[in-house]
Point group: C2
Amino acid sequence: MSKRVGEGTVELTSRPRVAAWSSTVGKKEREGPLGISFDFTLGDDLLGQKTWELAEAAMLRDTVCRCMDKAGLEPEDADVLLSGDLINQIMAAHFCARELRVPMLGLYSACSTMSEALAIGGMLVDSGAARRAVCAVSSHFSTAERQFRTPLEQGGQRPASAQWTVTGAGATLLCGKDYAPDNAETVVSMRYATIGRVIDYAIKDMSNMGAVMAPAAADTLERHLLDIGRAADDYDEIITGDLGKVGRDLLLELLKEKGVKVDRNRVWDCGASIFSPEQDAHAGGSGCGCSAAVLNGHILGRLMKGEARRVVFMATGALLSATSVLQGETIPGVAHLVVLERDGE
Amino acid sequence: MSKRVGEGTVELTSRPRVAAWSSTVGKKEREGPLGISFDFTLGDDLLGQKTWELAEAAMLRDTVCRCMDKAGLEPEDADVLLSGDLINQIMAAHFCARELRVPMLGLYSACSTMSEALAIGGMLVDSGAARRAVCAVSSHFSTAERQFRTPLEQGGQRPASAQWTVTGAGATLLCGKDYAPDNAETVVSMRYATIGRVIDYAIKDMSNMGAVMAPAAADTLERHLLDIGRAADDYDEIITGDLGKVGRDLLLELLKEKGVKVDRNRVWDCGASIFSPEQDAHAGGSGCGCSAAVLNGHILGRLMKGEARRVVFMATGALLSATSVLQGETIPGVAHLVVLERDGE
């Protein structure tokens, strides 16, 4: 049963269990500093499909299937699939879902979609509306570049604040207490969710997504801490989605302005961590597959081993389309937040 | 507290209240057979904005505000806004939300987005995760034509199975029992939700959306009736989103094949009803604003007056993008279903 805490946070009192997770990435991501934490690496970025879009759908589907398989379950053992991606009309998610006989809720909050899916999935499991919910999102470098930026063949110069869309997918299976498989190690659960507000700081530069998303991240984190009466440092780690190096610094600055005290060493960003400086990804990785893969590899792995015990996972999204940018609109951001904790915290 | 019934239906045992609703349409929709049921008609389809996309966002925002105002509330009295539209990256919903200080969940299931929003919103209210949830979606003829079809200036010939994207928006405010405003007449509540599966009958003709969506509608309705042990005729009306004339006939045929008995006079479609034959809209209206406006005008109006007492509202979506169609992909469909009932049913 869910309980509202403060103005805008939901406590999931039954603490939905993380019963399984899986991640898939491309070759470049595998070669990065977090490489060994991912389950599966694509041999090539087409996966034998005729288009990048179908390849992304196949990567997402395979990631869902591997996640369910790790729990000893079939995809249809989930009551609901919560899924989205960056392709127009979230076609990767829909093409993934048409091959799985699982009821699907289609979501979109740009690169914040993984935490949006976890927040809704967690709430549905908490209330008993779903026994098992699988949350899965993806992004693909080539589908995103084609859609949002310039043809790859053009080889345009990228500014230093630009980020590199991650080819990757992540899936997390959330289960009600009585519905986790017997063999699953379920010491990690979801305890809180704070839904983000859409915040617009009037930024128009689509090569500086970090600046777009940092204000939304600061807003959600501040609201969350006020709601539940915790200090930022009550968390071992505060993990953002894909602010990148530029956005992470801005977030720290905004938190300081708001009077939110935080040990900066506890704040790290999936996008700023997935590539090494030598990989020429400028400000870091982006795409909803970035935080999804890092969550379902590195982060959950460390929580499970007890290397972190209580973390904020807050993916961040820049809300734009190719049309909105061409029409000269500013770019709002959003950040949804969930709290993952080991039992006993 | 939510209760699962059968394989895939959720019973909302607290029966979230419909506390207010509002609809906005364009001039053509106002001139149709349901014209008088809509709250507000646009003077022109640009609403004083410089682009159709901004006009759609403004229409959606105004509809949310009017809905909240009818309940004597401000937009920020809602704990969450569940919203989506047809524009790439659901930019109408995001631009609407940046002006409202309400946490937002972005959704996309094409023209099924209104019932997706109601299903999730209802579940969140039922569990106590939200006290008040406002569900709002939109579509706009000119933004959809530009994005999915051909430039309006081209004046292409439309086949008889084609539908006409409705310029319209609808918003519904769902409240927990203790959170409906005192003056609101809340005799209508949401009792069940059945999330749809993505169904692909391998249709490639984007001018025949009815045929794409009918199999998904038949699947969801059949599952719902099996789950809760009701016959189709236990409902006064079974209302689909925008199957249009072609899709409605196919749905009846598919239900017959499946052995689902239904009085065909009880099955009607928002898309097939919003325009008269003289309005040259061929197979009917479409767009997520179509079923959203009809729900938040005609349907809820009749439920409130007792002209219908227990109905299925099942919006239907065709899952395609301009890219997926150009790449020769087939078009899957989806249909989410909610049950609205007057107290005492």
